[in-house]
Assembly symmetry: D2
Homo-oligomer: 136 residues x 4
């Protein structure tokens, strides 16, 4: 299960080093994850409101390799390589228009009950969706 989304750097994302502030790559990762869910037919807001599950980030590991700058057009990717049980591991990257990897890493998510905020196992519809996509 793989997804990518392309977007230009936004001015407010730069900092006084004249590059994209590192915290924004964590946000780009999220865009790719959410785009992946939407493309698969199960947007996160539907998961929250209809299935009653929240996707809570419990871990981020990220290496920053090349600075993105104003004028760059970036591609953020998300990939899921195993059917989740209690945790969802997502491989992520941000690449620029010249193919240079700006950032890459792994984001780990837990599933929370939307009312109690208690951890739950991966809900059936989410697990089935990922499984079906992985067999493509």
């Amino acid at each position: 299960m793989h997804y990518e989304v392309k977007f230009p750097v936004r001015y407010y994302e730069t900092d006084q080093m004249k590059v994209v502030h590192h915290s924004n790559y964590i946000r780009y990762f999220e865009m790719a994850r959410n785009g992946m869910m939407e493309a698969a037919g199960l947007p996160v807001e539907v998961c929250e409101n209809e299935i009653g599950v929240l996707f809570a980030v419990i871990g981020v590991e990220c290496r920053f390799k090349h600075s993105a700058r104003m004028g760059d057009v970036l591609t953020a990717t998300a990939a899921v390589e195993e059917i989740p049980m209690a945790k969802l591991h997502v491989k992520q990257s941000v690449v620029n228009q010249r193919g240079e990897v700006c950032a890459e890493g792994t984001v780990t998510l837990a599933f929370l009950d939307a009312r109690t905020y208690r951890p739950i196992r991966c809900p059936e519809p989410v697990a089935r969706l990922i499984e079906s996509r992985m067999n493509d």
Copy 2:
């Protein structure tokens, strides 16, 4: 009813012009408004959860006069000068450590029912609070 809060510029708030990005002053204004409510004994999260009212920003008017930079210590202020009916007008400013006005303006808020998101009149506890503070 008046409040001020002091805080240093955060690095991620700067942009590649090496000054605080203009959108952040709108956020500093909010900090002063929320600080004012908390200091008055009625934090916004209590308003949302217990009174069932949301404070929705419906208008912002802001003039930017002096750029804030990394290293600056800013003071954001909020002032309410009349008891609100359907709308709350808040005078706001951000001033730096040398007394220079960085930004000033007015933010207008509406009161929304927290379940329906429909506009309501200013809830009694909020109106009473502001009235009591204005007589101080």
Copy 3:
């Protein structure tokens, strides 16, 4: 001279009212302005580095009319209706996928010398560009 750019709401742009935080519309406005300059062949980073001019926001006036939410696809617009002298006035809006106006307003910018941060008149290349576009 007119420009529009379409983009989905990003999760981190929402707040605990479950709508897009109002400060983000100010950022969407900027995206449309910068997109306009880039589409016209004069990206802001080129203005900064080659022409030596900074576009500094000196005023924002914005009315918020309809809340955007996660799942919405927004269109931000920027329009310039007069050739700037010392100031550039840009009409701006953000509209959702159903045509509802979420926010609209005016942003006023000054031109600053990129080294001294002193106000200057609108540089020739910028003025000529806007003039040529307005005659289209």
Copy 4:
């Protein structure tokens, strides 16, 4: 060398899960690092402008353990436990007013020449500062 800074959650930092968006902890970490440098007498903006060194984040590893919410007062910490050569490793955490650890991790920074953006060894004044603080 250790530093901590205390601050309330800001409303715009929450997301529609009604908790602080995970990307903000990465920003809180930065606040603690920059506060540490300033408290030690060598603010990052002085490093950038006078010593000519940029602190570039090249790695982040973070575990999110407890959600922060509006109304919480957080403490972010930064600690350096070894004199840096080419890289600076900083231990970081964010703890709430009840002592619960919201996030903890490690941020790795490289030193860049402020003109060329090329990696350099830790500049003498920075190394000496850290060394002197570690002997306290």
